[in-house]
Symmetry: C2
Subunit: 324 residues, 2 copies
């Protein structure tokens, strides 16, 4: 396993090792990288049983990993992979200062808009690289992750005011480590453009999977849900244009074709909804709506989905609290 040991050794931390962070962290650890995992509820289980990955590319198990349940016990790390849900990002100012080495970089594996700004503002954070993950994976239980499909990570570096940061040396270094772990990597110059492109798929399929209680293939196969998804995608492209980020119109049809060829899949927002967990409604819907609006562009369909999701979550939580 250590045959692919990288020449220059960077120490990694994974904050929030769930379906995404746990999967990529496990791949890095398997490849011999020095990876330190900060767990929350799964800590006890992982200490005793390690990490189990069922992957379409081959199952594997890491019997012993460097697991923590307190950031203060962790060593300083050169790359901190942040893979919490965005709804947990308020915890980061209490975590990151304990584990950031000098010149450390954040590798942010989250969806939606507006999180880089928040994280870059935390004292001690110098550099944020976003890793947009095109991966279908899910948590089956504590320390148990299933990787269903895809797996590509697209790196872009954060720069204030939404400017493209170009391809930086740091991005090449991270890509090199990720490659040794078998992770397909793309480099992109313009983070904000990529975030909006990802929203083109995420907004309709995450939102409608919850509101219409349906998986991706059912949504893509039904003529009305498909038309609606297309219309939402076009809105997101107009929203992106309001931020001076151009997405070609044919991107919509590419995304629909990709969805057709995807295995039937419940997006993580749907799984979160069904599990009673918080949904990333703000970063995935609220912030994009707000930014487009400030630039004079309304996204009425996306706004409607936002209100529907808020209603459904509020009712779910009220119904639940009235039962207990």
């Amino acid at each position: 396993m250590n045959a692919k040991m990288p020449s220059k050794k960077r120490r990694y931390a994974v904050v929030g090792p769930g379906a995404v962070g746990g999967f990529y962290g496990a791949l890095l650890a398997r490849a011999g990288h020095d990876v330190h995992f900060l767990f929350h509820t799964a800590y006890e289980h992982v200490v005793h049983h390690g990490l189990t990955i069922e992957s379409k590319d081959g199952d594997f198990k890491l019997d012993s990993i460097s697991a923590y349940n307190d950031a203060r016990a962790m060593p300083a790390c050169d790359v901190v992979i942040v893979a919490l849900k965005t709804t947990q990002n308020h915890l980061l100012p209490h975590i990151l200062p304990h584990i950031l080495a000098d010149k450390a970089a954040i590798l942010l594996l989250q969806n939606g808009l507006g999180q880089e700004e928040r994280i870059a503002a935390i004292p001690g954070v110098r550099t944020v690289v976003a890793g947009l993950c095109f991966v279908c994976s899910t948590v089956l239980g504590p320390g148990h992750i299933r990787h269903l499909d895809y797996g590509r990570m697209q790196l872009s570096q954060f720069k204030t005011a939404g400017e493209p940061a170009g391809i930086t040396p740091l991005m090449h270094e991270l890509a090199s480590d990720l490659h040794t772990a078998g992770i397909p990597v793309q480099l992109s110059q313009d983070l904000v453009l990529q975030r909006w492109k990802k929203l083109v798929w995420n907004v309709p399929f995450s939102g409608l999977s919850v509101v219409l209680n349906a998986d991706t293939s059912r949504l893509a196969a039904d003529p009305h849900a498909r038309r609606l998804s297309r219309s939402l995608m076009q809105e997101i492209i107009r929203g992106a244009a309001s931020q001076k980020k151009r997405i070609a119109k044919h991107f919509v049809e590419e995304m629909l074709a990709d969805t057709d060829s995807m295995k039937p899949y419940y997006p993580s927002m749907k799984i979160d909804f069904d599990s009673g967990r918080e949904l990333e409604i703000d970063s995935m819907f609220g912030v994009p709506i707000e930014r487009a609006k400030q630039a004079g562009t309304e996204m009425p369909g996306v706004s409607m989905l936002y209100d529907q999701l808020r209603f459904m979550v509020q009712r779910r939580d009220r119904d639940r609290s009235s039962v207990t």
Copy 2:
């Protein structure tokens, strides 16, 4: 009961005596009017047990009514109350010619747009008066109707090309009969304007009650569902404007306030959805969207609700058929 017998006796038919037609037909019959009911599935039950109305204004029972299950057995009637679901209007050309007296009028108790045109085109139909019903009523079983709230009927006469027909003598005659039966009546000059005004409430509350699985008071009380309802109402007002029908903006707040003071209520579209019946999606959503679009006005939120409803009905019906 016959004390209020009208001076000039008009013979009534009720085609589709369900929650609305059955309720108003029963009120007319109770007041001594000559009312002939064309039933479908409830026929046998009604012949043996009559009609039972539980009403907030007082319960009553009609032990013996003139019930039919075949239009060919019915006498010619001066006023034919059409209260089928709009999805059943394709049956009318096979029914109406058998029961229309010379100079007969249709009193159309349906929601949505575009039905008057269809019905006016049926051979033998001379006049169509629409009765917009502001009533909460529901079918509890065969021949058994519960009247929960409200009850007002607003009459407007149909004229081609959406022109206001004014207040006609026929409308006064119908109003007179309805008054004798205790039905509050309003007369209105402009049918199309009134239809759009009714859509202002029906589109958000009927549509969202299905998509969000919620009653009217839950929708009105939740800040996000309320904001969404308001936004859909504003869209309908813009759609009406595209048809040269002006609805004041404060009408939205009036409708929301009305909903606040209404008893919690599942609109009939929601009851139809849960019962596996057809939904009036075309007349209530499809036709308004199409008419506004032809006039250059998009209603993106209403269109989204349309697609969501179509998806939900299609899945409901597919799931059901795959079980049997």
